[in-house]
Each structure stands twice: as structure tokens, then as C-alpha cells.
Amino acid sequence: MTSDALQHPPTHAEILRAEGVRKTYRLGRVEVPVLRGATVSVREGEWLAIVGSSGSGKSTLLHLLGGLDKADADSGPILFAGEDLRRFGAARENRYRNRDVGFVFQFYHLLPELTVLENAMLPSLVGLSRLAWLSGSRGELRDRAAELLATCGLGHRLKHRPAELSGGERQRVAIARALINRPRVLLADEPTGNLDARTGHGILDLLAERHAAGLTLVMVTHDASVAARAQREVRITDGQVGA
């Protein structure tokens, strides 16, 4: 374990909060309400599992928490450390996605043209200025990504392309990518949903390690055994969050 995840020692204060969040999708002329005033609160250092059946809106909630999607105009706020995401300008929104949160997707979403190392480095490259690049920060980033990948069990795969990896390995690269900028919250959408049980457990072990090191984790799953690894579980039904 590196000191990476201890960048933000847990204070157990509320770090992320969704208050009466609404989200409606439009399918042609038909409006499909997915979230109908969902409220959820995440404390720093906590591992929260959001569970629910397929189509219940749990992934949508996670996307909204991660700033990847926009809530309805009449929606309540989403607050990150007290800041309302709705008031973010473009630059702050990019910085939020880049530095404050990390996102792990069910389908990994790695860039096929980049190597494992480059995929893991991607968020840090996105946040790197030209000046920092020229002053030699790239080497430092490369070392950090290699070290992080090694802790994810991929030290021997740095030069490989995603197509050459197994599902579990790809998800580990995705986790390394989500962690490279030392975010305060890791948002994981069905991180084991595409993996067999054994590989899935390996991924959960990796997440548990990071959580133990102080990382705040919000995980969406429909699998009760996966949710059981979290400290707390909330259920989402019909677009609303229950206890």
C-alpha cells in the first residue's frame, strides 16, 4: 500500500450529498422519470453501496454524483464538500471530474489505442499544464502510475494494450486510472458486473484495500453479496432512495 490514498485523511464529515434529485429521460415524445427526488448522503471515509433492481435509477444517481450527467432543472442540489455542482462553470466541472472524484465503469471504458500505463496516466495528463509537462513532471507521473498499477497487480502489464488484458485486469487498470489523481471520492458503477465471481472478489478486495487506506467509496450494484462488502447500504426504488 502506498501513501497515495492517505492524501485526504477521513474526517467523517459529509462529503457528498444529493438532496431531492430529479432526472427525467426523454425517449422521443415520452418522458421517463428515472429519479423522483432521490436523497443520499456520503460521509468522508465511508463505503456506501447503492443497491436496486435494474432500471431503478442507481447508475443515473451515480452519474449525477460524478458530474457526468445533468439533473433536471427542478431538481434539488448535489453538494460536494458543500459546493453545489449546479453552480460549477465548465472549468470547475472539468476539475471536479479530474481531481475530486474518480469513476469506475462496469464496462471499464479504457482507450484502446493507449497502453495500460498511458490509460492509468490519462487523468493526470489531462490535468497537467504544458509548463509542468516541459518541466519534467511527465516522468514523475509515469513513476506514480507504474507504482499504482503495481499495487493493483499489473506491474508486468504496463506496455500492454487493453485488448490484450482479461476483464479483471482491465477493471484494475480502470481503478488505477480513477485513483491516479488521488480523488476524495471513488464512484464505482457495477465494478464487478461484467466479471466472474472470483475475479469480482479480487476487484472488491482491491477496493477494500483503498477504502481501508481512507478512500471514500460509493458503489452501485444489484448484487447483494457485493453490497455486503460495503459499510452501509441504501436501496433505490422507483427513483427514490430508501434506508
Binding site: 457526468l68 479530474n98 489531462v126 497537467l128
Partner: protein, 566 residues
């Protein structure tokens, strides 16, 4: 700093950018090649009309301009003019050395009767010229056909080209318009005589109707021809026709069939003489001199119907025309004011630029150029649409990547920048390759044409059949290995090569640009620089637009929607 990394990876890790580069290069090359050749062709047609008439033409037909030497001196003193030359233009009849054959004597040929050729009469435009000044104005010497070739030109000539034989070299005679025996000479347009046969390489052979091979006997330079002219008085009365024998001293090639098949050149003094336009003594029949003849009271000046003028370097034909027009008016006024002059030039003469004079020839060419521009705007748009479509497809395929980049915090401009770099690089490389390809094809177009005009050698045919068999074998191998891709790919290759091999079998040489029909010996082989530049720029611009618009659209979408894109 991820943009350069990703743009480079997108460019180097897949085959599609290479297809895009090839598409841009081919589109750019297509437009440049066709426009260059067509523009070159139209320029050749247009400029060939200019041959032998300089930039500006002063014309007063039939009765001509008196004291024209003075006018020429006035014009040559103009800063706008470089040189001027007098011409006497008229129409005439030329008796050719071939035509109807009349057999005389009893029993005709069998009993030793004689054959007499009743030469065919050609209706010709006669130009009485001053060779030296016409050369300064319009490069007359360069137009003479039977001259000693330079070693470089000789090296390119066909083995049986008569110009390689010194017998045919008539440089001096052509330049002086005088024959070896000191008589007045004429120079015929190369297409006037039936004895001259144009070959596939654009050169001529001298051969009669009865034989189809090169023969000295049929060289016009050996002949004397009778030229008949009809003097016309200034009061529009026809004089008695005048026939005079001239030695043919050379032939000229202007590059325009109409001129080469109708015009003959003769010394200006001889034509003036026949047409009674030469200098003459003016006598008064009422007064007698010491010998009892009518007393000479003055000189009647020589006249020329046409003055051709060449512009000084950097002076446009229009500017020269205006200057010459003024010079003519001053000249006419000066002569009219001089009581000693026996003949007053007309107040105005027609002063035209070469384009004005040849508007009937140039007009259709210009229309054709406009038509070509319109058609090629459409081709250009088709190429632009193709490039746009390719980029659109490439970037659309990357929508999910754009979603990922936005999800890890990349800005819209950052994402856009990746694809702008991508479009610029492909556009620049594709356009540069296109320009190089076009330049290569246009510069070597005559060699390519010669290659197409030569039947395929047995070795080439054998290679084509071997390649067909190899492709067919690879297709069967693909079938046996259950590979649909290999089967289909090699099957199409085998069909294509088979068609090519069959065509080669029947191919006896294609001559698209036949100089014996087209009159130009070479296909234009200069790249039109303006077209090359604009087309290359267009290649880059459309690549960038094609890449930027779908990229901007994807960057504007919320990352989740881009990630869902399949």
C-alpha cells in the same frame, strides 16, 4: 498534454488514418492533374493563335498605309513597344506540283505518250513579310520547320525524321526568303502541301500519294511554284492578275491548323510589287523631261496593309494598343500636314490586340474554360464531401473515447484540439502527397501516354497472368482455411488481375492524344500552381472541418451519453 499523445496514437495505431490520407491525396491529385492538363491544353490553343502576329496589330486592308516605315519608327520609339514589322496581306492562288494528270499523245501511256501534271490550285492567304523584323516581333525564325536541329532536339527525333538529314536543312533560305539560286522565295504553311504527312509524334514525312514512305522527291524545298495575285486599286477596281514563279525555300509551323494549311509567306517587296503597292515614281504626262518622257514629279510611297507590334517587357497588350492608337493618329496628322507628301494615310486604322483580332478563335476556348471551371467546381465539391464523410465516420467511431476523456476531466477545447490535430496532420500529409503525385503524373504524362500507346510486352503479359493465377490460388487457400476475408479479397484481386491480363492481351496501344489529329505534339505537362495551392489548401480545410464538426458535437454532449454511444 494528452492531445498530442492521443492524436499521434490515433494516427499510428490503426489503418483508417492511412486510408484517409490516401483518400485526401487521391482527391487532391485528381483535381490538380485534370485541371492542369485541361488548363494547359486551353492555354496552348489560345496562345497558338498568337503565333506570328505579336501583341498588337494595326490594319488597313487593300490600299494599305503609306509611309509605313515612318509609322514603324514612331511605334518603335514608344516605350511600350519593343519591335514592329510591316506585312502586306492579300489572297492568292498557288499552283501545286500535284493534281490532275493529263496524258498526251496517241495511245497514251502504252505507246509512250507523255504525262503532264495539271497542278491543283490552292486558295491561299499571302503575307508579304520582312523576315528580320517579323522575327523580332513574333519569332519568325523559330517557326521555320526545315532547319538544322539542335543536338538535344536531334536526339529526341525519330530515326526516319527527315530533319536529321542535312539535305533538308534550309535555315538561311527560310530566314532570307531567297532561294539558293538567288530568286525570291516563299515559305508555305506546313499543311499547305499534300506531300507533307504528319506522323504520330507530330513530325512530318515528305511522301507522295503513290508511295507512303519518306522520299526526298516530295520535299517542297525542291520546287518552284506559281503564285497568282490580283491587284486591287484604291477605287475598288480589279487589276489584271499577276502570276509569278517563286522557289519554295522552307515551310513554317505555327501550331494552328487553319494558319498552317492556308498561309504562305513571301518577301514584302515582291508582294508589294505584284499588288502595285511598292514605291513608284509619280510623273505628270503633261510635262516632259529632256528625253521626252513624262516628267517625274515625285515618289509614290510603298504601302503595307498591316503592322504587327510586340510589347516591351511587362507591358500589357491593352496598354500597347492605346499607345499605338495615339502614335498612329499623330503619324497620320503629321503626314497630312506635310504638303510634300503624295499620299495621305487614312485618319484611322484598325488597332487591335491579338486577342481582339483572334476573338473568333479565342471565344470558344474561353467558353470551354468557363465550362471546365464549372465542372471542376463540382468535382472539387464531390472530393470535399468525400473527405468530410471519411472524417465524419472516423470521429463518430471515437464518440465513446470522447465520452471517456470528458469523464476524466478533459475540456471541450482539449477534446476538439485532438481531432483538429488529427485533421490537420492527415490533411497536410494527404495534400502534400496529392500534390507530389499530381506533379509526378503531370510531369511524366507524356511518358505515361507513350507507355499506354505501346502494346504490352510478352513479359508484362506473362507477369499479369502469373499474378492472376497466384491471386486465384490464394483465394482457394482462403476457402480451404475457412477464411471468408481471404477468400473474398483474393477472389476480387484475381478477377481484377484477370480482366487486366485479358485487356493486355488485346491491347495494341492506346493513343488518346494523337498529334496527327490534335495538332499539338505533346500533352501539356505543367502543374497549374494556383490550382495546386488552392486544392492542397482545400484538402487541409475540409479534413479539419470534417474532423472538427463531429468532434465538437461529441464534446458538447454529456459524457454519459457519449459513453453509451455504440
Amino acid at each position: 498534454m494528452y492531445a498530442p499523445l492521443l492524436a499521434n496514437r490515433y494516427l499510428t495505431s490503426r489503418i483508417i488514418p492511412f486510408i484517409a490520407v490516401a483518400a485526401v491525396a487521391l482527391c487532391v491529385a485528381l483535381v490538380i492533374i485534370v485541371v492542369s492538363v485541361m488548363t494547359g491544353f486551353l492555354d496552348m490553343v489560345r496562345n497558338s493563335g498568337r503565333t506570328l502576329i505579336g501583341d498588337v496589330v494595326v490594319n488597313y486592308p487593300i490600299s494599305g498605309i503609306p509611309y509605313y516605315e515612318e509609322l514603324i519608327a514612331d511605334i518603335e520609339a514608344l516605350p511600350e513597344a519593343a519591335a514592329a514589322s510591316p506585312i502586306v496581306e492579300t489572297l492568292g492562288l498557288l499552283r501545286m506540283p500535284y493534281g490532275t494528270i493529263e496524258r498526251t499523245g496517241a495511245g497514251a501511256a502504252q505507246s509512250g505518250g507523255q504525262e503532264v501534271v495539271r497542278g491543283r490550285i490552292e486558295f491561299v492567304e499571302v503575307w508579304g513579310i520582312d523576315p528580320a523584323s517579323l522575327d523580332r516581333v513574333a519569332g519568325y525564325y523559330e517557326r521555320l520547320y526545315w532547319t538544322t536541329p539542335s543536338p538535344e532536339a536531334a536526339a529526341k527525333m525519330a530515326e526516319d525524321d527527315p530533319r536529321l538529314d542535312p539535305f533538308y536543312h534550309r535555315d538561311e533560305e527560310g530566314r532570307a526568303l531567297r532561294s539558293r539560286r538567288g530568286a525570291d522565295g516563299i515559305v508555305l504553311g506546313i499543311e499547305v502541301s499534300e506531300f507533307n504527312h504528319r506522323t504520330k509524334d507530330g513530325s512530318y514525312r515528305t511522301a507522295g500519294r503513290r508511295i507512303d514512305r519518306q522520299d526526298r522527291e516530295y520535299f517542297m524545298g525542291n520546287r518552284s511554284l506559281t503564285l497568282t495575285l490580283l491587284p486591287i486599286s484604291s477605287s475598288a477596281k480589279l487589276g489584271e492578275e499577276q502570276a509569278r514563279e517563286f522557289d519554295v525555300v522552307n515551310e513554317f509551323q505555327s501550331g494552328v491548323y487553319q494558319i498552317d494549311s492556308q498561309r504562305i509567306l513571301a518577301p514584302i517587296s515582291a508582294v508589294q510589287d505584284i499588288l502595285q503597292l511598292g514605291e513608284a515614281e509619280l510623273s505628270d504626262p503633261r510635262q516632259r523631261d529632256e528625253f521626252g518622257r513624262p516628267k517625274v514629279i515625285g515618289t509614290y510611297p510603298a504601302r503595307a496593309t498591316t503592322i504587327v507590334v510586340r510589347a516591351a517587357d511587362g507591358v500589357s497588350a491593352d496598354r500597347l494598343r492605346d499607345a499605338v492608337e495615339l502614335a498612329y493618329q499623330r503619324f497620320a496628322a503629321r503626314v497630312a500636314a506635310d504638303p510634300t507628301r503624295t499620299l495621305i494615310p487614312p485618319d484611322t486604322a484598325s488597332v487591335e490586340t491579338w486577342e481582339g483580332r483572334l476573338r473568333n478563335l479565342i471565344g470558344p476556348v474561353e467558353k470551354e474554360r468557363e465550362l471546365m471551371r464549372t465542372l471542376f467546381s463540382i468535382v472539387y465539391l464531390v472530393c470535399a464531401a468525400l473527405v468530410l464523410a471519411i472524417f465524419w465516420a472516423i470521429v463518430q467511431e471515437k464518440t465513446r473515447d470522447i465520452g471517456i476523456l470528458r469523464a476524466v476531466g478533459a475540456s471541450r477545447t482539449g477534446v476538439l484540439w485532438i481531432f483538429l490535430r488529427y485533421g490537420v496532420l492527415i490533411g497536410v500529409v494527404g495534400s502534400a502527397l496529392g500534390v507530389l503525385l499530381a506533379w509526378g503524373v503531370v510531369a511524366r504524362i507524356n511518358d505515361i501516354h507513350d507507355f499506354l500507346g505501346t502494346p504490352a510486352t510478352p513479359a508484362v503479359q506473362a507477369i499479369a497472368w502469373v499474378a492472376t493465377a497466384a491471386a486465384a490460388a490464394l483465394s482457394i487457400r482462403g476457402m480451404l482455411r475457412n477464411s471468408a476475408l481471404h477468400t473474398v479479397f483474393w477472389l476480387f484481386a484475381a478477377i481484377g488481375l484477370g480482366v487486366l491480363a485479358t485487356l493486355l492481351l488485346f491491347h495494341k496501344g492506346i493513343v488518346v492524344w494523337d498529334p496527327s489529329i490534335y495538332y499539338f505534339t505533346r500533352i501539356p505537362s505543367e502543374v497549374d500552381r494556383f490550382t495546386a495551392l488552392t486544392t492542397a489548401l482545400g484538402g487541409v480545410v475540409f479534413s479539419v472541418i470534417g474532423a472538427a464538426i463531429p468532434a465538437a458535437r461529441a464534446a458538447d454532449t454529456d459524457p454519459v451519453q457519449s459513453l453509451r454511444y455504440e
